[in-house]
Amino acid sequence: MSEHPSHASFAALLPLAAAGALDIHQQRSLEEHARECEACRRELEIWSGYSQALRRLPPPAIPAQLMERTRRRLVQEHAAAADRRWDELMLGALALFAWTVGLTFWFVARLVTGGELVVMGANLVRFGTWTAGSTVLVWLTAAVAALALGRRRREFRRAL
């Protein structure tokens, strides 16, 4: 550390010194310099004045009911998120239920028909045909049921 920082380089540090933003080493060097330098001491006083005035700025008035409006918005958002989760859960549960019913019926239908139920040239109890048909039916039914249940739940909540 043979370099001797110039007056200008110390002067450049003054705003940050007043803001408490110098590291301990810089702060000490500046302190030593300011002991000898009248101009820097005066400047530091000015910057410290700014720093103190900024800390004492009058706080803005918070809008009336901001807390209450925020709380209401949070409650609404929380309820909407809960509804979305419930709809997704219901859709999944209903789809699973419909799949189980579909597979059970397929198994029963194969037992009853002996593995062959031909309608318009297609064997309905073949696994592929049954799966394709029941998939469309299952998802449509589940989606409609989930929507209906969700709407009913929201109407019930609104009525409360």
Binding site: P15, L16, A19, G20, E31, E45, R56, R71
Partner: protein
């Protein structure tokens, strides 16, 4: 002596410890699904968060909306909040990011200038109070300074409010603004220089604040 006072202020770790402990307790309760915990957190930080947002965006309506959005985001992300991080820095960084997104939508910092109070300072002071004149002068100095701060770019207003009004450490400011420490220092330097230049223009010939 001035430098020593600044250093002492900087090295005082007791300042917000109690407040932080209370916040951590509310965060734990919020994660457990306690509905009152978020209200407690909002109540604790409402003034500081609103002040920060207002300094940043300048427009009360925008600050109001961002305030609400910030808490919605907090509610949404509290499960992912790392408890080893400083909650205040995290909260302000959520607000910062939402403000940046809002600006991107509006293409620039061109919000209308708004005076936060239309009430004249003299009407705020009780008559016959011996400290009234000093407080009036203080208020006028504060009002002039706030007006000059208003003219600065948003990044400079942000660093000034976080450093001086929120009393955040430089590392915390860096976390909030998502920039390196060196950038925070240079912004702080430029912000103070800009503020002083604006004050000198406003009140020519004046040496100090």
């Amino acid at each position: 002596m001035i430098l020593a006072a600044i250093m002492n202020r900087e090295m005082n770790p007791e300042m917000n410890r109690e407040a932080l402990d209370g916040a951590q307790d509310a965060i734990v309760r919020m994660r457990r699904g306690d509905p009152d915990a978020l209200t407690a957190l909002i109540s604790r930080y409402q003034h500081r968060l609103y002040r920060y947002l207002l300094r940043l965006v300048r427009e009360p309506a925008a600050a109001d909306d961002l305030f609400q959005q910030t808490w919605l985001r907090v509610m949404e992300k509290i499960g992912r909040y790392d408890a080893s991080r400083n909650f205040e820095s995290w909260l302000f960084s959520v607000a910062h990011n939402l403000a940046v997104d809002a600006w991107r939508g509006q293409r620039g910092d061109n919000l209308a200038e708004a005076d936060e109070s239309s009430q004249p300072p003299s009407e705020r002071l009780p008559s016959g109070d011996p400290g009234a004149l000093e407080r009036l002068l203080d208020f006028e100095r504060g009002a002039a300074l706030a007006a000059c701060m208003h003219q600065l770019p948003a990044i400079h207003r942000e660093v000034l409010t976080l450093r001086f009004e929120e009393d955040m450490k430089l590392e915390e400011i860096a976390e909030v603004a998502g920039v390196p420490l060196s950038t925070v220092k240079s912004r702080l330097h430029r912000a103070l220089e800009g503020l002083r230049a604006a004050m000198d223009t406003r009140i020519p010939g004046r040496k100090g604040i």
